[in-house]
Symmetry: D2
Subunit: 91 residues, 4 copies
């Protein structure tokens, strides 16, 4: 199944930008930039990754989970999804 077809290009663009930001972090370390500035940059990478995760999760809900529920087999998909959500949270 083409699980995240419509979002595919968007996700790739985001991940390439994140890759560039991670290289930027390496440069900042090499050039011994101020710790707080590196932490600020890293925090923006985390947010960008979270955005990717939320797009993936929403697409997963709209396609895989919805299809499974319509076929009366939602149980396992819901458990699997809750595991991901649990990782998003602190506990």
């Amino acid at each position: 199944m083409d699980a995240y077809g419509r979002d595919k290009e968007d996700l790739l663009v985001r991940l390439r930008r994140i890759e560039g930001q991670v290289r930027g972090l390496q440069r900042m370390i090499e050039e011994e930039k101020y710790c707080i500035d590196i932490l600020t940059q890293s925090s923006s990478v985390q947010s960008a990754l979270q955005k990717v995760e939320l797009i993936l999760l929403e697409t997963h809900m709209r396609h895989c989970v919805t299809a499974a529920i319509q076929q009366g087999q939602g149980e396992e998909k819901i458990k699997e999804m809750m595991e991901v959500v649990r990782r998003f949270s602190r506990s």
Copy 2:
């Protein structure tokens, strides 16, 4: 609809325990306990609350969202749920 019927008593027990823990935090402040010990206690309250949230969210998935999807009206429920998940995350 009896949205979280089976979990109701469990959730109430958990929330009463959390209420007690919050009163415990007040006592610790009043008695000027060591900051780090208060922070440790508060962190355990946060985890307990997260657990409550995850139970609620899973129940919501199994009942409201599943029912809506089965009736071909999952779209809005999925959006609503993603908003909750987004709040769980950092972005």
Copy 3:
């Protein structure tokens, strides 16, 4: 030492409000309110608790940690504080 003296009353006011909010959550469960509304309320309790933690941590930095560093004994306090910060984060 009067570690969080100036903030003491502020912290107690915040924690009493949080206690009230947790009782509010119990009422919402008892009255079987809509899951998403309960999750929204719970999220606001979490934020309020985080605010308390940040006040405590900042006070701790300004007093205990600062004093320890001035006496050349910062090492252990810094380790202890990093443990709290680590719990704030996801890893």
Copy 4:
């Protein structure tokens, strides 16, 4: 000042590994792997980044913040650090 000197090589190794993981995420998207597997991989990138942030923050505490406090100028550094910690948390 050589702010994170001793950790520099360790941090660079970690960030190069993270860069590789982000490229791995791109490949998984291109090959249309299962959403949940991508989310699991992404979650491990987030943890790796958090680890980098905690190392940076601890080094910052041990050097910049400690030095500022010893010179009686800790106030601003503490504020700055609390801003980073606040971003680590949910509120």
